[in-house]
Symmetry: C2
Subunit: 571 residues, 2 copies
């Protein structure tokens, strides 16, 4: 292993951090490197203003930072903020074959640098991304439509912690293979002695396909898992969420170059206007024979295609698609806490999260609470009221709801009665449009609630992305748990939660979640929400149901991204 | 986790062993639990005779041991020993749907028993298999055609060590996930405290598809990796090598039942006569929606189909197929040792090993040795002479060569001139038929050598399974290494070796092997052979070239066979 001088310095700089993070990953205790508060006390008095300015300039400078990629000579980029403004950033279009050739050429030095050096360089990249969290927050906000604080947290420090987690998971996995051993087999005479050297080799070129709603959070685990295991990475952002990944890629390339490595280890493949009849860029890249690893977040149709065709072609494919996130309400001793927690979970980013709850099962005979028994109808009213109250102040509400990200979501948010009618349900709470005080063109909508009977399975057995949830009337909690099992097994889910004061019901819910292959949150009534997971402790996804074939970040997510080549000889 | 009383006892019994084996797997030092010598001093004075008797009876008792599987009522089995005798063993045909239903029903208790208990039960199974190694040796010999001592070693203790390795790798991987953690996030006020429990769940039903030549050695890693991670296993043996796996399955079922678990956790799916136009049993099982994991060893056509279709259906598929095992001869300071080592590698089991060398690259200008420079022709003569001498004593030779396993191998062995002519090569050494003193019907053949020019790529770029190797005349060692790179990348290889006295050549060979994704043995001149790998130290396969998509046994081989389901709540 040959660490360049700057890389050796990074090894020293980040050694302690990597040890602490390794310990946390093993115990799954609380760990976070990157402070989630955008406060000036944390990020510095001038950080917010500098971030704002940098973002405004990034719309012009993004191109320059990537100009040294092998390009076609064409500029691409047509991002329009869900808040209204056109971003105006342009990006050099990658010459796919030249880019892949450059990526391949970069492999040997990166491979031979060894796992520890790669991890240190990756940490440096993430630290440098962290330093630009305010700029990144604006970029995430104006591509995803997330509200500002969420853009800062989920697009910044939380994503960075997930990136670090992937780096650490990759490092741990690689360190498990010794560099060398003297193997000594006893025989009747002298033992047979052999030296065996184990060299880690990457799979090849990795592809990361980003999504619109979480451009960094969902791209970083795959990006850093692949990079830390020695694979060069081509990042293909969603056409409407390029800037956050353009910033990421340009930072990565700078750090790599400063550490003595090839910038081509991380490249951006921004997509031009779709060409009628031609495959999209994601498909072109995914089908390229040199691409060995694909990480994907996005819609289930293309995700399923990737799983099928990518895997059939011998590529490793890690997907996160969509599912039916489920809440089972049985009983509670903290009605207020439960309603507040649910109202927040529905409202945050208008439910445009792969983890946002959608299907709420409630027994038709109602539930018991610390405020007395509630019929299904009474509970529906309470929940609708909680959502309404939570979003009653427009100026405050927009800072939770953000903006709807695309016409598909908007169409559901703006015609809830039509949607309910099509699905055969009842409007329990219509969506309330809010005019954003700063962005009048943004479509901001308070979440709606639609009531359906459990028998009306088609109504709620497909993902309804955005600010609409279903309150499903069931024959009782056992029936609710059966529906959880059945629908999640078949359609997948990223999250599930249960509210009950009955220990047996909780035990049954754990069993149902285990059978369905989904993680379970129990009785969340405070400041932890079902749609949020913590790096180093909570797995994001399980890989055990159709919503995602992998999890951030377990051993299976990293162990196959590199292989071991042995050489052995007598000594 | 709920260990039954007998299972708890097994946990105690095998705790120390599992710790020692875990240490060995981490360091990759020498480790073996199961003695490879069939000597009476090791296995007991009466073991050989008892094994012989048991084998003779097994031909009748195999059925009885599996009679409690859900069956169709039909008996199957048509094994004929490559040594001549018809085995006569019959097996109850598995009712596939009922068998899979039984397997699924067995999951919860096995899953909930926990990783440590599962590992202990698996060790007990392997120990009990080990106690019947002599019986197994006969079963392997008379299904694979391996010679007796090899059948004992490779079919017995070596396979058992690989089984143990898989169990330990699975245990290590599962133990990396803590059962529970208290997660404490600091806040301005009281910290947020949550308990998070992590439950391991199996993927589903696992399928192991065995091969004819190494019925146990190649089936055990997948079988025990899946079982130890909580998955019930259906074992589909090769129709001509059922008995070794029938013994294995019946032992496993007995131990499972004694430990308080369901016998249906391991089932045998012996195949009946092929039905014209119908899919074979392997395909039927592989396509069953309940089957989530497939381990396969066998021909590349069906292996590629499985990789493609199995993966496309979201199943985990681990394959070992075939490749072009390669030797690069550059120079040596121990000509005698090199020739002897190569002669053994070609002769052992008549080259019917997925690891046996096939393509030997020799520079046209010849090689330098401690016995002077040798031209290509002189080296060819020396190597042919070494093979001939090594097999000169018929009675001794058959104990190395074994019997040819099927008509395909036999056709090549018995018409080497015809083969050479078809391929455009020259016969450097014709195969010599030997009459086995005890089994006159066996076809035993001393390996042949065919000379070809490197330019005649089609001649040597497909697997030529059995007792034929190619001596390929190249433009020099750099050209030899280029051919290694090129052919192994394209067609795969399980093994590669190099002979050179030049450190730079060895370094180049390591690089070529790394680029090709194949393990390298250097200058083997003693009692270690390129076609043998040691459990706990040598990976078998790399998963980095087309010969196999996985390796015995690395983390990637086990990490994805189970998933983690979290439940979290405030405390």
């Amino acid at each position: 292993m040959t660490a360049t001088a700057p890389a050796a310095e990074l090894l020293d700089t980040h050694r302690e951090l990597l040890e602490a993070a390794t310990h946390a990953l093993a115990t799954r205790e609380y760990f976070s490197r990157y402070p989630e508060s955008p406060s000036p006390r944390v990020y510095g008095e001038t950080a917010a203003q500098e971030g704002q300015t940098a973002f405004e300039q990034a719309q012009n400078s993004a191109f320059r930072a990537l100009a040294d990629q092998p390009g076609t000579g064409t500029e691409v980029g047509a991002e329009v903020s869900p808040y209204g403004p056109t971003l105006g950033a342009r990006y050099p279009e990658l010459d796919v074959d030249a880019g892949i050739e450059a990526a391949r050429a970069a492999i040997p030095a990166w491979r031979d640098a060894g796992a520890a050096t790669r991890a240190a360089v990756c940490v440096e990249i993430i630290d440098r991304i962290n330093a630009r969290s305010h700029e990144m927050a604006h970029a995430v906000m104006h591509t995803s439509g997330q509200p500002f604080v969420m853009s800062f947290q989920a697009g910044g420090p939380h994503a960075q912690d997930r990136a670090l987690e992937a780096v650490v998971a990759a490092l741990v996995e690689q360190k498990r293979v010794p560099e060398s051993v003297t193997w000594e087999k006893p025989t009747k005479g002298d033992p047979i002695r052999m030296q065996k050297d184990y060299r880690l080799v990457p799979r090849g070129v990795a592809l990361v396909i980003g999504c619109n709603t979480f451009p960094t959070w969902n791209a970083y685990p795959g990006l850093f898992a692949s990079l830390a295991t020695g694979n060069p990475v081509i990042v293909k952002p969603h056409p409407q969420a390029v800037l956050p990944l353009a910033l990421t890629v340009s930072i990565a390339r700078d750090v790599l170059a400063e550490a003595g490595f090839d910038r081509a280890l991380v490249q951006l493949a921004a997509e031009g206007e779709p060409v009628e009849g031609a495959d999209g860029l994601a498909k072109v890249l995914a089908c390229h024979p040199a691409v060995s690893i694909i990480d994907y977040t996005g819609g289930p149709t293309f995700g399923a295609w990737l799983e099928r065709e990518g895997a059939a072609a011998g590529k490793l494919v890690y997907t996160e698609k969509a599912g039916l996130n489920t809440v089972v309400v049985d009983s509670t001793d903290d009605l207020k806490g439960m309603l507040g927690n649910l109202a927040f979970s529905f409202s945050l980013y208008s439910g445009q999260m792969c983890t946002a709850p959608q299907n709420v099962y409630v027994p038709s005979e109602g539930i018991s609470t610390d405020e007395g028994d509630l019929s299904y109808e009474q509970f529906a009213e309470k929940l609708a009221g909680a959502i309404t109250r939570f979003n009653s102040d427009d100026a405050r509400a927009v800072e939770i709801l953000g903006a709807t990200v695309n016409p598909d979501v908007r169409s559901r948010a703006t015609d809830v009665p039509g949607l309910a009618q099509r699905l055969g349900g009842d409007v329990l709470l219509d969506s309330r449009p809010i005019t954003h005080p700063n962005y009048p063109d943004a479509v901001v909508a308070v979440p709606a609630l639609i009531g359906v009977d459990a028998g009306n399975l088609p109504a709620y057995s497909q993902e309804c992305f955005g600010p609409v949830a279903f309150l499903i009337r069931t024959d009782g909690t056992p029936a609710s748990l059966d529906l959880l099992r059945q629908t999640v097994r078949e359609h997948g889910a990223m999250t599930a939660s249960v509210y009950s004061t009955n220990e047996q019901v909780l035990e049954d819910a754990r069993d149902a979640a285990m059978d369905a292959g989904v993680a379970l949150s129990e009785n969340l009534t405070g400041q932890i929400f079902v749609n949020q997971t913590a790096a180093f402790s909570d797995f994001h996804g399980t890989g055990a149901n159709p919503a995602a074939n992998s999890a951030y970040t377990d051993a299976a997510f990293v162990a196959n991204r590199f292989r071991v080549i042995t050489s052995r000889r007598h000594v």
